[in-house]
């Protein structure tokens, strides 16, 4: 998994000089692959602009009458604007959840990288074991546990389990080892700084570009989460956007208009994640290369 931490920039210029024919074939293959990756996205963009009638009656990949504005308005009007609520829920689950997860992982990773203490390797092994436990295998027992304390169908039943990111701890440990020099910590101790102050003032600051990676990974994981909310939640006011879209999809045979709304909703639901990636891209790149440069 450490492979993920060292990428970009290590070998900026590299390339096999091969014949023109094989270069052409390579570019052709890469372009075809790109078309395959973008086909559903293109279809989504086109379909989101169609009216329900055109969606069924016109060829899938060809644009019809522009109906995007009306679709969008209908999307946010449906069930008293429940879609906006789902978006906000997802932002809260994924944004706040990933932020808390990153903070907890940063402190734990820093401790594992920068202190020698009893039980360090054991604790680290247990955490690594946590990486291997698949999230889907946890959803059902988590439901049973929350049911015992009567806490299913609450915001917390989805939020709390998502603040745990063993993979984040693993990455943070790698980052702390690579980017926080022991000498700096020693020097701060000499100056009489407390351990907490050293961590927040120096450790966190030096790790912060790399921590964006932890945040992004966890953000994507929570945003894409489906089984846990599906198992936990009955009240659609608490749904994240993935679960909301799914329930609309299951009702399209009864309410055909939901088909258009599901498509427009899917498009809108992808926007925040794209924005997050673009906004954090610079820091993210910096984080990825931090391990390689050191």
């Amino acid at each position: 998994m450490s492979l993920l931490t060292r990428t970009e920039g290590a070998h900026a210029t590299r390339g096999v000089r091969t014949g023109r024919a094989s270069t052409g074939a390579a570019v052709a293959f890469m372009t075809l692959a790109a078309c395959y990756m973008l086909l559903p996205v293109y279809w989504l963009l086109v379909s989101a602009t169609k009216s329900q009638g055109d969606l069924v009656d016109t060829p899938g990949l060809r644009p019809a009458h522009w109906h995007f504005g009306a679709n969008l308005a209908a999307l946010f009007r449906q069930q008293d604007g429940v879609f906006a609520r789902w978006l906000l829920n997802s932002l809260l689950y994924a944004g706040a959840g990933a932020a808390v997860a990153t903070a907890l992982a940063a402190a734990a990773g820093y401790a594992l990288a920068k202190y020698r203490f009893r039980g360090r390797e054991l604790l680290f092994s247990v955490i690594l074991g946590g990486v291997l436990v698949p999230a889907t295998a946890l959803a059902l027992p988590l439901f049973l546990m929350f049911a015992e304390v009567d806490a299913t169908n609450t915001f917390w039943s989805v939020f709390l389990p998502s603040v745990v990111s063993p993979f984040g701890v693993y990455l943070s440990r790698v980052f702390a080892a690579a980017s926080v020099p022991d000498e700096v910590i020693e020097a701060a101790r000499m100056d009489g700084a407390g351990e907490l102050r050293i961590f927040t003032g120096i450790g966190l600051r030096m790790m912060s570009p790399a921590l964006v990676t932890v945040f992004l990974f966890q953000f994507v994981v929570i945003w894409n989460n489906f089984l846990l909310p599906l198992v936990m939640l009955q009240d659609d006011d608490l749904y994240p956007v993935t679960l909301g879209l799914y329930t609309w999809q299951t009702q399209t045979s009864r309410l055909p208009v939901l088909q258009t709304l599901t498509i427009v909703g899917a498009l809108v639901s992808v926007v925040p994640i794209v924005l997050t990636f673009l906004l954090l891209q610079r820091y993210w790149r910096a984080g990825l290369s931090a391990g390689a440069v050191k």
Partner: protein, 297 residues
Amino acid sequence: MSRADRPTRRTFAPYAFLAPFFLPFVLFTLLPVGYAFWQSLHKTARTGGTFGRTHSVFSGFEQYADVVREPFFADSVLRVGLFALVQIPVMLLFALVLALLLDSAVARLKRFFRLVYFVPYGIPGVVAALMWASLYDPRLSPITALLESAGIRADLLGPHLVLWSIGNVVTWTYTGYNMLILYSALQALPADIEEAARVDGASGWTTALRIKVPLIRPALVLTGVFSIIGTLQLFTEPQVFRSISTSVTSTYTPNLAAYSLTAGDDYGGAAALSVLLATVTFVLSFAFLRLTNRRQG
């Protein structure tokens, strides 16, 4: 602060930094695993009729035996096994070819294609399944229309093809992710390997197949095991497909079966199935760790 209390502070500091992570980790990862195991060994019994109090009785591995004997068990395991045998090699070969091409491509093309290939990974599994479901829908599908114009009638959501239609969604979503892992490994190889191969007169493809691929074997094993884990846990895509295809049953994959057992209040059976799945997943992951550690060490 006196000088004397510093060592004590330093002894406690790492535990204090670990505690905020460890508490939720124990509560929401270790405990559920333990709880599922406990639950799987106990059966619910009622005293005093249908509405009487429930209590749990130790039943050993009885529920495991029950679950394994269910007809859906063998079906779903075989289905997932078949899926893994076909989908994983196809996806990993695709990802490997893309990674090798990117590794030897011109810098500007590289950045563009890498971004495009990674796009599907950022799209939620539910949304990906919804998009492809519509692309397969016989009423809307440009794919069936295209096939029909070529004289092929294919029901992409029918009992014969739906598994591979799901396979396509999974391939589409994770090829870019696997490509990124393989590509990172390729980029980490020293540049002079390529130099030396060229001096020896090896072509680009020979260098790739004979030298680069063997060198990134650990990364290939990693993507392989991640894929096996993903396949064993297959849930979102088939669950979404259930609403548009009658060929996808409620016990289509082991994970779907566990979910429907829970929905049917058979918590013990669901727990037994979850524990079985988690164990198999864990064993395979562990085998991978051993394998790669041996390679590196």
